[in-house]
Subunit: 419 residues, 2 copies
Amino acid sequence: MTEFFNVLPPDEARKLLFRHLTTVLPSETIPTATAVGRVTAAPLLSPLSLPAFRRSSMDGYAVRAADTYGAAESLPALLTVVGEAPMGKATAVTLQPGQAVLVHTGGMVPDTADAVVQIEHTQSLQSPVSNLQSPPFEIEVLRPVAVGQNVLQIGEDVAEDEEILPAGHRLRPQDLGGLLAVGITELAVARQPRVGILATGDEVVHPTLITRPGQVRDINSYTVSGQVIEAGGIPVRGGIIPDNYGMLETAVAKLLAECDMLVLSAGSSVSARDMTARVIAGLGEPGVLLHGIATRPGKPTIVGVVGRKPVLGLPGNPVSAMIQFDMLGVPTIYRLQGLAQPPRQRFVRARLAQNLPSASGREDYVPARLADSADGLLATPVFGKSNLIYTLVNADGLIKVPLNKAGLEAGEWVEVRLF
Amino acid sequence: MTEFFNVLPPDEARKLLFRHLTTVLPSETIPTATAVGRVTAAPLLSPLSLPAFRRSSMDGYAVRAADTYGAAESLPALLTVVGEAPMGKATAVTLQPGQAVLVHTGGMVPDTADAVVQIEHTQSLQSPVSNLQSPPFEIEVLRPVAVGQNVLQIGEDVAEDEEILPAGHRLRPQDLGGLLAVGITELAVARQPRVGILATGDEVVHPTLITRPGQVRDINSYTVSGQVIEAGGIPVRGGIIPDNYGMLETAVAKLLAECDMLVLSAGSSVSARDMTARVIAGLGEPGVLLHGIATRPGKPTIVGVVGRKPVLGLPGNPVSAMIQFDMLGVPTIYRLQGLAQPPRQRFVRARLAQNLPSASGREDYVPARLADSADGLLATPVFGKSNLIYTLVNADGLIKVPLNKAGLEAGEWVEVRLF
């Protein structure tokens, strides 16, 4: 057990924790169609070129570009349409000079054509465009096209053997599209971290129970579960444990064995927190790494590692617990999946609506509402004691007051960490 | 069937569509613990005050504040600790003047006390603070406390009958916490919209198949499914339908009957799109509302309503399909659930890295990569034809070029719609 009350700023706390987590969870192979939100376990190369054939990007006529050179409204080029490129099949027609083939958007351009004239730049001599008769028929081309114009070339989207996604990439809907387009219908992704969650404290009861004076309902098990799901993990709730060393030790050891990471929502008293630290320290090396994070709220957060599995002891109060889990737990879930970069949409810049006092040497996170204004986003702090869950319910995000700032002034640009 | 080719900007298209969608889906009651991402169907009032009893926000001693007035390091107030407030139970002790009760963070403050002195501002005469003996024992208070100090009052977090969440609110982890804290263990939320998805086109084949020349794999069914899930809906994939009016009509009617909304990824040819419009028009009133959206990419998008159910005909090309679904489909899924305000984290401001040409009178959406720079976020356009899915795979979001702008210049601040 660490003998001193060791406190670090959040960034350094994360670094210290991550130094003890050298491994990413093993991968598993799953269908691409179900992989949104999962993290790639290895780089992915395209097995083929896309498009696999020359496709028209317009409705029009596949032509030899040279046949259209000099064409103008006043002097159209006259071409004979000798066939139609069928959708979904190879186009068998061979073009001779002066010939064209009707082609639809996405259709295959014949080998003997090198450009597509869009239909709006042609006119049919026989009938309105909307009522095309069977080839052969004649068209007038009103504008010239260059070689390659309106033709998607083989491999223009992605080339064979090109890396299409790196390892550690969280899959979005378009990534599924890119993979399926080249026939990658299953892929290796990091296994989703199983995150054990235990609430402790003699005063904590299940939310369905009627509370007696002195009791409070367990909410941290559920707020943290929601955060785990949003980060891509699987919450495993282990229930509520009273402030009893033996019971806590048994429950923690059992849940840690079943999970990849463990979160304890400590009882709110000092002795309950001490018990959490003792239990973590007793489970295995390296045990407790840190007894505190230099932030408000959430200072008394315990950061530990037992046999390569991260163990976090969150403060009992719900606001501190959520904020600490957001700063330490969520990045750890990303890290266990090998995610190279956390999602960018977690931050916005906003102007501060009023002065915000703070102490230097500590990162403050202040719940805030956001509103649109002529100057851009406006952030109004939601003041309240850090024990009050409704300060978070009534907020859109957290204003970050940096470590070395003694407060912020109204009108300053601030960074808001969105929920 | 609408006789003219009707085109509107995206905002007006949404308004037109929403005017025909007067109803929100019926609600269902679900456990609060599983409600992250769901949308409240009615305002929620707190059935009780929180805290339900006066709680200490510190480890320390519950006192009568008047007993500490004038206390200082040089002249401590002497108090007798007559008991300990147990965690999770009512505190039965009655304080006489000059008496105090040991209390832990979160513990119940006795009725006869009106403040808490934190333990760091006291010293015990008998033993070190870390080894407290049983009461009664004496302490010295080194600083005065005001009435109410370090005490969370009844209802300070939320008052009985106060509205805690409005209708149309998408539930976040802390909202679950706020609801469970007051004993709301189940609640009414809008049913999740079932969104039917059909791919059409003779050239489109299932992603597991080997393509022949002229064929492409269906990817729109899967990208749109991912978008539906992210917006809170349930995708129902109906497969791939060839360009055949009768088959398409049958498939559309069947899927529409099972779902709350329908999305067609049209074949990419003009005739295939016309067929989609004819099928939608034939299904019922009001049918097709719009034949196009004034954006690039994605102009040939069909917006329809059949018997109060929205029906979207997306362009076949995967980039247009995703962008149009993001602009029209996602807000419609929100709307069907009664969501009052779409999630804010969809936009960031960034500086444009290079000039971006555009045509006035049309909203352009240009895929872009984002990078951090000294000036803030930098957005670099990913150029490529709108048919190329890898322009989206390689991008972090879309730069919006407003309707009335003829292009944007390098260095300008732009709005980027994040994926």
